[in-house]
């Protein structure tokens, strides 16, 4: 049954383009990147905050470029925009997320009395965010992400400072990772969901801080994955994995971490560890924590810069 409240287009289903000449080579894709990635964030007079971070500790140290700014949606109580650029010389596009925080505001009349702040999270992919066009109705992966985000944030909020109030946190994924056709064919999107969750946690954390809602710590997301190398035998752990770069991903883990308290508020672990491997769950989790420490450095830098620049 078609949704009459939207424009649905032709009755029978349409097909996304199918290419028969493979992937563009990396060089030609990079050509449009420098200014193609920038523009979205020129939204506020706050100076561009770029943190060049290198927290890849496996042999080839790669630079992941993150860009975070707050206050992109002035009518919201708090908001933030996060952009993760693809690594130099790598395939694939980055990730772009916005988050708006509305509240604390009164609960709907039907809601029961709550001595705490009631948190609700919404995560939505824009139709143009991923390789396949997404619909407007929330699908199961978006609901999954919302639930994970909610637990990640709930552990950080001081909810009893805001009795009988509600806060809505809305994350919109403008661009998710995995540009390439292979991503669909090799079914690696399921691993990309981990990176998306990490981004959601980070951007929501910044937006909550912007809204002035009390938190015990600035929660940040981090992802680590156990990957097999090209020859198929050597397994290693990478931080912020790009699934496409690796022959196969065996397991991945996303944590929401409070660095000053050394606490994990949400942990999502997927995949199977090989029996023989010298890696265990703990090592994967601790590397994910390491990744989120890196992200935390970025959030603190950009938040401090945001208040610094509004001082005068």
């Amino acid at each position: 049954m078609a949704d009459r409240r939207r424009v649905n287009g032709p009755g029978s289903s349409t097909l996304p383009p199918v290419y028969d000449d493979g992937e563009l080579n990396a060089a030609s894709r990079r050509q449009r990147a420098p200014d193609a990635i920038r523009p979205l964030c020129e939204t506020k007079p706050i100076p561009t905050i770029c943190s060049y971070m290198s927290y890849h500790e496996n042999l080839e140290t790669k630079t992941l470029r993150l860009d975070l700014k707050t206050g992109v949606t002035p009518s919201a109580s708090g908001s933030a925009y996060l952009e993760i650029e693809p690594r130099e010389g790598e395939h694939g596009s980055g990730m772009k997320l916005t988050c708006t925080v509305h509240g604390p505001r009164s609960l709907p009349r039907s809601a029961p009395f709550s001595p705490y702040m009631v948190l609700s999270t919404h995560v939505k992919f824009a139709p143009f965010a991923t390789k396949q066009r997404r619909g407007y109705l929330r699908d199961s992966s978006e609901k999954d992400l919302s639930t994970h985000l909610e637990t990640a944030l709930r552990g950080a909020l001081i909810a009893d400072r805001w009795p009988k109030s509600g806060v809505d946190i809305v994350v919109t994924i403008i661009e998710g990772e995995s540009t390439r056709q292979d991503a669909v064919e090799r079914r690696v999107e399921e691993w990309d969901v981990m990176n998306v969750l990490g981004g959601c946690i980070t951007v929501a954390s910044a937006a909550i801080a912007d809204a002035g809602i009390d938190c015990v710590d600035t929660v940040s997301g981090g992802v680590a994955a156990l990957v097999a190398s090209k020859d198929g035998n050597d397994a290693s752990i990478v931080l912020d994995p790009v699934a496409l770069e690796h022959e196969s991903v065996m397991a991945a883990c996303c944590v929401a971490y409070l660095p000053n308290r050394d606490e994990v508020t949400n942990l999502w672990f997927k995949g199977q560890l090989p029996l023989s491997a010298s890696y265990n769950h703990q090592s994967l989790v601790s590397r994910a924590v390491q990744a989120s420490r890196g992200t935390h450095g970025l959030i603190s830098a950009s938040l401090s810069e945001a208040i610094g620049s509004t001082q005068n």
Binding site: D3, R5, R6, V7, N8, G9, P10, G11, S12, T14, L15, P16, P17, V18, Y19, D20, D21, G22, E23, L24, R32, D35, A36, I37, R38, P39, L40, E42, T43, V72, T73, P74, S75, A76, S79, S93, K96, T98, T100, V101, H102, R105, H122, K124, A126, P127, F128, A129, T130, K131, R133, Y136, R138, D168, V170, T172, I174, E175, T179
Partner: protein
């Protein structure tokens, strides 16, 4: 207004926004120029900025920002075989775009773009209205050429299909002749990142800018697999020659209740923000195209109220304002290539 209570400016603005706006537009002191609550002069607009091609999964995209209203438009092309179009007629070369629904614009406000737009429900009335307005303006403005969306195929000489649909008696394609095997369908998705009034102007500008940015892949029909195959080499830009721009203003009468006799005084507030939209009943939108120096009006629509007369709508002052606004948008869109 309310002289008996010493209220601060922000309190006054919150408690009685209507008299507050009136007080700003009619300053008691001659030395202060009339201004709106947001500090702009009545005819002053928020300068638009446009960024193109910021999305890598879309065939074309644009981000348009006017003040605190920010909208991002992503255009995705998908294909549909003519045999799957129920009302397909090969003779139709005039109204393909609308008959086959090849343009699919949708607006999403529920990104928390403003406190009243939260996700979790069906699209709001405003979102539905905006989608429909974009849809009808896309068709009525003749912005796109159907030719750009056709995918041609040459029928091999030896095969002949007798299963053409009811259009058969008109011009049955001859063997070896080129015919349209499929169309591109453009999904035009508009996401509001931030909302502060005047959504239509921004959304329409984003649509035009994104269409100008759109490049479709080279496509051909593979008869064996009965599907469209595309090539990544040399994508072809859409032909968008015109540049229709929408200019919106609201009319503020200074009276809160409609049943009072209007004393004839009113202000035209260009490019209204959310607060002004909530205080005014009458809205006027003119869609204008000044490409090539001549001024063409594509549509004028006016809702609510009775202040805006036909004389005023065609006055030089009003049309000149619209032309200036067109310049702003046109240079922002073309300048960002």
């Amino acid at each position: 207004m309310a002289p008996e209570v010493g209220l601060s400016r922000s309190t006054f603005a919150k408690l009685s926004p209507h008299p507050y706006l009136l007080a700003n537009l009619e300053p008691s002191d001659d030395s202060t120029p009339p201004a709106r609550s947001n500090g702009r002069a009545p005819f002053e607009v928020r300068k638009p900025t446009v960024n193109l091609s910021s999305l890598s999964h879309a065939h074309g995209s644009a981000l348009v920002r006017t003040g605190d209203t920010t909208v991002i438009c992503g255009i995705r092309a998908e294909t549909i075989l003519t045999e799957n179009i129920p009302n397909y007629r090969a003779s139709n070369t005039e109204t393909e775009l609308s008959d086959y629904d090849l343009l699919v614009p949708n607006i999403e406000l529920a990104t928390g773009s403003a406190p009243q737009f939260l996700p979790g429900g069906p699209p709001t009335t405003l979102a539905q209205t905006l989608s429909t307005k974009i849809y009808s303006l896309l068709h009525s403005s003749k912005l796109l050429r159907a030719e750009d969306l056709r995918i041609w195929h040459s029928r091999p000489a030896e095969t002949s299909f007798a299963d053409e649909e009811e259009g058969a008696e008109e011009s049955e394609p001859k063997e070896g002749e080129k015919y349209v095997v499929a169309y591109w369908v453009l999904y035009i998705d508009l996401f509001f990142i931030s909302f502060d009034g005047n959504p239509f102007d921004a959304a329409w500008a984003a649509t035009v800018a994104a269409l100008r940015d759109t490049k479709l892949p080279q496509a051909r029909y593979d008869p064996d697999r009965e599907m469209i195959l595309c090539s990544r080499k040399d994508p072809k830009p859409l032909t968008v020659e015109s540049m229709p721009i929408s200019c919106t203003a609201v009319i503020f009468t200074g009276k809160e209740t409609k049943d009072q006799p209007a004393d004839g005084k009113f202000w035209l507030l260009a490019d209204p923000d959310t607060l002004e939209e909530s205080l005014c009943d009458e809205t006027v939108t003119i869609v204008i195209d000044c490409t090539g120096g001549s001024r063409r009006i594509l549509s004028i629509s006016k809702h609510g109220g009775t202040v805006m007369t036909a004389k005023l709508l065609t006055s030089k002052e009003f049309l000149d304002w619209a032309s200036t606004r067109w310049e702003d948008f046109a240079s922002a869109i073309t300048g960002s290539h």
